[in-house]
Homo-oligomer: 306 residues x 2
């Protein structure tokens, strides 16, 4: 590559790592991926792995800011960057970033996660998603918006004027797997089959009386009555869970624009469920995190940290 | 035993069996219990097991009606007694009972389960609980009441003037176990520890914004912030789940009397959660099912079936 390296962004999570080489104006000019998430690194092996994967980029871009986000900043990571309380913007995120000095004499920066105290003082946390959200801000404009990151632990953040105001986590993906693999409901379904109509039936049901615990039993009762076959039951249960997540996340935010960050089938399911609830959304690829890294890198430079 | 046998009632479930010998006025004069639930019976071995356990009672009470309830009437049981649609009273239950003729020339009767079509036409089912509810009716008087049977699949029934009007099932107990044993939340808790205060904190939280999927993530976030220790996290999660069940079950029934059928710690937890929600309840032991058997036996006799 002959392009100048203007910044390097690294999203280092629990199970994988994605690194972006950013050129002029933050354009992604190269991208590397590896399966060595922080859980796969033994002891203080982080620097060695990092050097192995992008040592050549560090050589080539001697003055480029290097920004790391994700679980790499957790207690189990390279350096713990404590959670920053919402509301927070790019300036506050950068002020809370922590430096790590490499043996080669280079300094890299680790982003903090975000925390938010919800009703009753109950905390919520994210780590890594905040940089994806930061990257999404430009695409969503300056008005109030919601950003959803569906997954094992889905995140919904409310953003406004470049700030993450508040957010909530929903344990939707993990509960789906636990129910499918370890309850009587799972025995009603064939793994990995899908049925769009059944999914939307579940979304519709989630808006009715009874609550989630009652609606979930309906997977079994409908199966007993022959209303739901093995190939459709999993999609129906997914629709119930996603529908309940949406109902909670949208209850107070009835008109804000929605950005949906992700890819593949899961995002299509969320888009369909949102549409069923009368909402449209803008889908953004997970690589939007590189735009967040770019904003952090620019801010680091402006503040003279790099 | 020298007392007359006026009826025999048998509650034969998935994992166990309880049999009651009823004397004058339906008083329980003897009781036997066995672990041979229907899942433990091979092929058509039901009659042999039944004879082995209470053959002597059948010999002694030659004219006593014999009533069976529970999963014994399911497709996997002795004889399938189809679900009876709510509302239903004792007369309709008896009219839907099915006879089984024993080789010794004796006829016994199997009770049906109940079904109920909820909002959106989604079915719900119970099998066995309806006879406990029938037994509870006398203790609750003739006015409108709610009957709760907490457990793996908790049941809430609305009864009025001797009829089961409608009911809902909540998958509370089973989801608790799946979450504790198979998600990241379970890693935050010590199995079998308990904390009354944390349980009530969970009940309180269930009444706040966010919904169950968000509240459950709070188990993890509070643990990360040191607000919830290993010994309290399980009780807190239980409080969240029971609280959500109660909120759904009570939402439309704000003043009805509440009967709670069960025993041990679980019932104490439900009673405490109800009290926290400003509701009192009458606790009835599971053996109340024998009062239900007695009512069915009386009705069978009056109709000349026995």
């Amino acid at each position: 590559m002959s392009e100048m390296i203007r910044a390097i962004g690294c999203d280092w999570g629990t199970s994988s790592l994605r690194i972006y080489r950013l050129g002029d104006d933050g354009v992604v000019v190269d991208r590397r991926e590896a399966s060595c998430g922080i859980m796969a690194i033994e002891g203080d092996g982080f620097e060695a792995v990092f050097e192995e994967i992008i040592g050549d980029w560090l050589d080539a871009g001697l003055n480029a800011p290097v920004v790391l986000s994700g679980m790499i900043g957790s207690r189990q990571g390279w350096r713990e960057a404590p959670y920053l309380e919402c509301p927070a913007d790019v300036g506050e995120l950068v002020a809370a970033m922590l430096p790590v000095d490499l043996s080669r004499g280079r300094r890299v920066w680790v982003a903090p996660g975000l925390s938010h105290l919800g009703e009753g003082g109950v905390p919520d946390v994210m780590r890594g998603e905040e940089v994806q959200i930061l990257g999404a801000l430009e695409s969503l404009g300056d008005t109030a918006a919601l950003v959803c990151l569906p997954g094992t632990h889905s995140k919904w953040a409310r953003v406004e004027s470049g700030r993450v105001i508040e957010f909530s986590t929903y344990i939707t993906g993990e509960i789906f797997e636990a129910l499918r693999d370890h309850t009587i409901l799972g025995r009603m379904m064939t793994a990995d089959s899908w049925d769009d109509g059944a999914f939307l039936d579940g979304v519709d049901r989630s808006r009715m009386m009874g609550g989630l615990l009652n609606h979930l039993f309906g997977v079994r009762a409908r199966g007993l009555f022959g209303e739901l076959d093995q190939r459709s039951a999993g999609a129906y249960m997914s629709g119930l869970l996603v529908g309940h997540e949406l109902a909670s996340a949208l209850s107070e935010n009835s008109t804000a624009e929605i950005g949906l960050i992700g890819s593949g089938r899961l995002v299509e399911h969320y888009r369909a469920a949102l549409f069923r609830a009368g909402r449209t959304c803008k889908v953004l690829a997970p690589d939007i995190v590189a735009a967040g890294h770019w904003r952090l890198a620019q801010e680091l430079t402006q503040r003279g940290y790099c």
